[in-house]
Amino acid sequence: MENLQWQVPEDLYYDRNDYWVKIQRDEAVIGLTAFGQYNTGDILYLELPTEGTALTRGKKIGSIESGKWVGKLTAPLTGQVIESNQKVESNPHIVNQDAFGEGWLYRMLLQDPAEVAELMNATGYDRWIAEQIQKEKETTVL
C-alpha cells in the first residue's frame, strides 16, 4: 500500500514509535519520521541522550515537547550513543523542517545488529501508517 501523504524513504528502517533508522555497518542514525511529526506537531524542546548513554530498545531515553505536551523519546534499538545532534537540541524546529536530513537526533553503536530485522522496511511502515489512520478514524469520539 502506497502512502502518498507522508514521506517514507525506501533506504531506511522504521519502528512503531515513528523513528527512522539508517544503518551504517555497526552504527545507526536515528530520527523522527514525517508521520511521527504529524502525530507530535511542532517541536519546541528536545532532550536527547548524551554521548556514551546506554540505550535499551523500547525504553525512554529523552523527552520531546510540542504544543504543551511533554512526550518521551524511546530507543528503537539497543546500543550506545555515539553522538547527539546539538543543532536540533538548540533549534528543535529543524526536525520539523528536515526530518530525514539535518533533523537527525543521534548516532548510536549497535549492540545487537540482529535487532534490525525486527524493524519495518518502507513498505511495512507505509502499511502500518495506513492501519493507524484507519484505527484513528474508527475510534475517535469527536
Binding site: 502525530n39 523527552s63 515537547e65 504543551k68 475510534t139
Partner: protein, 292 residues
C-alpha cells in the same frame, strides 16, 4: 456500555504536593495500580509553575514571589509559566492509557477532545466557550483555560486550569513577561485577552457547583461514568510516601533540562549563552497563549 473512571477531588494543596501527586497518579496509572481518573485540584498558598523544560530564572520574578509568599514549582507537563492564585483557579486533570477507546493518537486531535470535554462542562454553567488550537479554551476570543499534558509509560496526564476569579495584576508581577516593556495601554489590552468565570457570569458560582458541571462535561464527552473515590491502595500509598517530598527540593524546581555545549546535564547556575538566547527568543513570542 460506558466505562467507569474515578473522580478524585484533592482540594487545596501546596504546589509541591500537587506536582508530586501528578507524578504519583500518572506513574500508578501506567502500572495499572489506579483506575482512569479525573482529578480536581486547587492551590494554596498561591504559586507560580513553570513548564517541564523551562528555567525558573528566565520565567519567574523570584524575588517578588519570595516577598509575597508565592511558591515556585515545576510541572511535569509542557507549556509556559503560569500563576495560580490562592484557591482562585480550578485545576482539572485526566489520567488514562494512551490507547483508551476514543482517545486520539494524534496529539492535536487529543488536545481538541480534552478541551471539548471541558467546554461541555462550562456549557453546564451557562458559559459558551470554544476551542482555540492548539491547547486553549476561550470565551468571546478571551482565554479562560489553558491546557497541557505528558505521558509516563503507556499512560497520559492531560491537565488544564480554569480561571474562576483571576488576579491578572499578580500574574503580571510574578512572571517574567515581555509585556512588562509595553505601554500601559498595551498592558490593558493584554489583560483583556484573558477572562474569568466571575466576569463571564457576573458572579462566581460555588466551587462545588463548578466542579460538578465540569465533571459532567468530562463524563459526557468522554462517554464515561465518574465514580468518586480516593487514593487508597497500599502500593499507591507507598509511592506517595516516596514522592511527596520530592517536589519541594530545589533539585526539581531549579533543574534545567538542557545541556551545556559540552553535553553534560547542568543545573541552573550559569545558563549557557546559547540557551539564554534561545529562551529570550521564545519569550519574545510569549503572550497570552502561554498563560496560564
Amino acid at each position: 456500555m460506558s466505562s467507569s473512571w474515578r473522580l478524585l477531588d484533592t482540594g487545596s494543596l501546596s504546589a509541591a504536593h500537587n506536582m508530586a501527586l501528578d507524578k504519583v497518579i500518572l506513574s500508578a496509572r501506567s502500572r495499572n495500580l489506579v483506575p482512569n481518573t479525573v482529578r480536581f485540584l486547587q492551590f494554596s498558598p498561591q504559586c507560580v509553575l513553570v513548564g517541564y523544560h523551562q528555567a525558573v530564572e528566565l520565567e519567574v520574578e523570584e524575588e517578588y514571589c519570595r516577598n509575597k509568599g508565592i511558591e515556585i514549582n515545576r510541572r511535569i507537563t509542557g507549556g509556559g509559566n503560569l500563576y495560580l492564585g490562592d484557591e482562585s483557579q480550578l485545576g482539572w486533570e485526566l489520567f488514562a492509557p494512551r490507547d483508551s477507546a476514543g482517545i486520539p493518537n494524534r496529539l492535536e486531535d487529543m488536545y481538541r477532545l480534552m478541551c471539548e470535554s471541558a467546554i461541555a462542562g462550562l456549557k453546564r454553567l451557562g458559559v459558551t466557550a470554544s476551542y482555540r488550537p492548539a491547547n486553549d479554551i476561550e470565551v468571546n476570543g478571551r482565554k479562560i483555560s489553558g491546557t497541557g499534558g505528558t505521558e509516563i509509560g503507556d499512560a497520559f496526564l492531560y491537565q488544564g486550569t480554569l480561571l474562576t476569579d483571576f488576579d491578572v495584576d499578580t500574574m503580571i508581577a510574578s512572571l517574567k513577561l515581555p509585556i512588562k516593556k509595553l505601554e500601559d495601554k498595551q498592558i490593558k489590552n493584554f489583560k483583556n485577552r484573558v477572562i474569568d468565570l466571575k466576569e463571564v457570569l457576573g458572579y462566581l458560582p460555588p466551587m462545588q457547583e463548578i466542579k460538578k458541571a465540569m465533571a459532567e462535561g468530562f463524563a459526557d464527552v468522554l462517554e464515561v461514568d465518574l465514580v468518586p473515590g480516593g487514593r487508597s491502595t497500599s502500593r499507591v500509598k507507598v509511592r506517595w510516601r516516596n514522592w511527596k517530598g520530592s517536589r519541594r527540593k530545589n533539585r526539581w524546581k531549579k533543574y534545567r533540562r538542557f545541556r551545556t555545549p559540552k553535553g553534560r546535564p547542568r543545573r541552573t547556575k550559569g545558563i549557557p549563552e546559547r540557551m539564554s538566547k534561545l529562551d529570550a527568543e521564545k519569550n519574545s513570542h510569549a503572550d497570552v497563549r502561554h498563560l496560564p
